[in-house]
Amino acid sequence: MSVASARRRQALSRFWKDFGRQRTGVVGLAILVGAAVLAVIAPLFIDESVTNVVTAGGPKMAPPSLDYPFGTDESGRSILLMVWWGSRTSLLIGFLAALVSMLIGTVLGIAAGHFRGWISAVILRVTDWFLVLPSLVTALVLAAIMGGSTFTIIMAIGVTTWPSTARLIRAQTLAVEARPYIERSKALGAGHWHVTTRHVLPNVAPLLLASTTLEVASAIVTESTLAFLGVSANKTSWGTMLRGSYDWGAATAGAWWYILIPGLCIVAVVMAFTLCGRALEAVLNPRLRKAGA
């Protein structure tokens, strides 16, 4: 066991060294850590009252000033504080939705790759079916039917985005299971559970990490789009802020700060996740590494 753990530690440090060479990935990671820390410490400085229209004291629709660095919205709430508080909802939903999607995708992907016969055939059929469903439209219908809450939004995004993960994991599982040591393990009496959790899962885990990182980015975009289209968890998020700006007609009124700030937050975080995910892929995928991508 200690031999294995030492080897794992070594692999991890090598991985860090490789990742450190991906400059854009490091930048992305820095932005992510910054955003996550800000979201976590937000309750130490502000609370939900910054999103309350009744207690908002500022001037209405004021452009950025010293008191309100990012301006105010139609009820006099500070855009800066709302963006800060809203980051909690946006990031939380992004992370959890990606987690749900990854869990479903991994379990079904490994099952489809590990088992033969009808189990694999049925899972593949279902995966292909979900893959062709237009995901945004389906998520809208799901969220509209189940009613808006944080949980339903997370489920609606998770349930519509897992198929690509499942396909990826299945392909990797097939590749891993073709290796001789799996045969050896089976010959020694390993069952399905042992093979999938002890041999397949650790081998697909790095790939899973990269694809989950990218998935979080897309979940954040989907959450904001759903919120913009009127299906939200009734909590302030970057998407609901943009919805508010649209309802109020901020675009035609020229209130650029109301549109620009929440949108830039989304783009920054999404880009950071994308850069990280691509750097991870480049480190983990030897074919890409050789190409110097």
Partner: protein
């Protein structure tokens, strides 16, 4: 989101029947097309069944949900229930639903008091126009830029175009639309910000120009978010070709660089990209819903959005099924066409 990063992997390679590889090519194609059509029919059936149960999952009483806000006596509610067939056993409701759907009878919209099919018929033209023009622009732009970027791999053009497309890819569709509205609709006032035509729309050729004028911002929004994936896939599939022996041979023959690219490398690289156009059509549909909402484009996407907002479940159900079935058919066609065009997949 992960779309442009993963390699194009048409379902063709793994869904093909176990036998039939060694048969004459044409029969193989027919067989393949039939099996794909069967799969598509199965998927469509699943959509219909899934929709039925999904919309029966509505929490509470659907009639109450439909009649929300309006004062209704218990007798009126009962009447509504009977009209919707909700007093029937679930199994009867199911067969009624399937029968109606197969006859394209999607029921009456609560919001508009008109058959859902009529509403769809009114709106579908605008969507086809917007999505068609948007797709055509996105595909040509993406392929052209991807071609140049991939051929001059690592050049300044490559870095610039790949960078731009990645940034646009990270931008939510609706935010790009809002920005365009802000800059071109409100600040410069060059383009109209909503609708498909002016209130006092002129006739004849001037009408066409008027619609085209209204289309500029929606099309740019749709293209901005969609074209990145075409660029990236075209670029990476051209990169795969650049190192091939036949490209070296073509160069050794003394062909000009342009000819090697145009006549040899690009046709081979084009195939996965063209397939992708159809494979990702569901993504374009999602974009269309958002774009139509922002610019009040009177299309199917806006109709669907209104159904979600009200919520008008009959209308939502009908548009959802139509959109999904259209996407399934497009995907299947892409699969089969890819199979016909690319002998490499056929013999694999």
């Amino acid at each position: 989101m992960t779309a442009p990063l993963e390699a194009v992997e048409p379902a063709a390679t793994q869904a093909a029947g176990p036998a039939g590889d060694d048969r004459p090519a044409r029969r193989g194609i027919l067989r393949y097309a039939l099996s794909k059509a069967g799969g598509a029919l199965f998927s469509i059936a699943m959509v219909i069944v899934g929709t039925f149960f999904l919309f029966r999952l509505l929490p509470g009483d659907p009639v109450r949900a439909l009649a929300q806000g309006r004062n209704m006596t218990p007798e009126q509610l009962d009447l509504e229930r009977r009209k919707l067939g909700l007093d029937q056993p679930l199994i009867n409701q199911f067969f009624d639903f399937v029968g109606d759907t197969l006859r394209f009878d999607f029921g009456m919209s609560y919001e508009y008091k008109r058959p859902v099919l009529d509403l769809i018929g009114d709106r579908i033209g605008a969507t086809l126009l917007l999505a068609g023009v948007g797709l055509a622009v996105a595909v040509s732009l993406g392929i052209w830029q991807g071609m140049r970027a991939g051929w001059r791999h690592g050049s300044r053009f490559d870095k610039f175009s790949t960078g731009t497309s990645l940034v646009l890819w990270s931008v939510p569709t609706f935010w790009l639309g809002l920005l365009l509205l802000l800059v071109f609709g409100a600040y410069f006032k060059i383009f109209p910000s909503r609708g498909i035509q002016s209130v006092d729309a002129p006739d004849g050729f001037a009408y066409v120009l008027d619609v085209a004028h209204h289309m500029v911002l929606p099309v740019i929004t749709l293209v901005g978010v969609v074209y990145a994936q075409y660029l990236l896939v075209m670029r990476s599939s051209l990169l795969d070709e650049v190192g091939q022996d036949y490209v070296t041979t073509a160069r050794a023959k003394g062909l000009r660089d342009d000819d090697v690219r145009r006549r040899h490398a690009v046709p081979n690289a084009l195939l996965p990209t063209v397939t992708l156009v159809f494979m990702r059509v569901g993504f374009v549909v999602g974009g269309a819903v958002t774009v139509e909402t922002i610019f009040s484009w009177p299309g199917l996407g806006q109709l669907f959005y209104e159904a979600v907002r009200v919520p008008d479940f009959t209308l939502m159900q009908g548009t959802f099924m139509l959109i999904t079935v259209a996407v399934i058919i497009m995907n299947t066609l892409a699969d089969v066409v890819y199979h016909i065009l690319d002998p490499r997949v056929r013999s694999a």
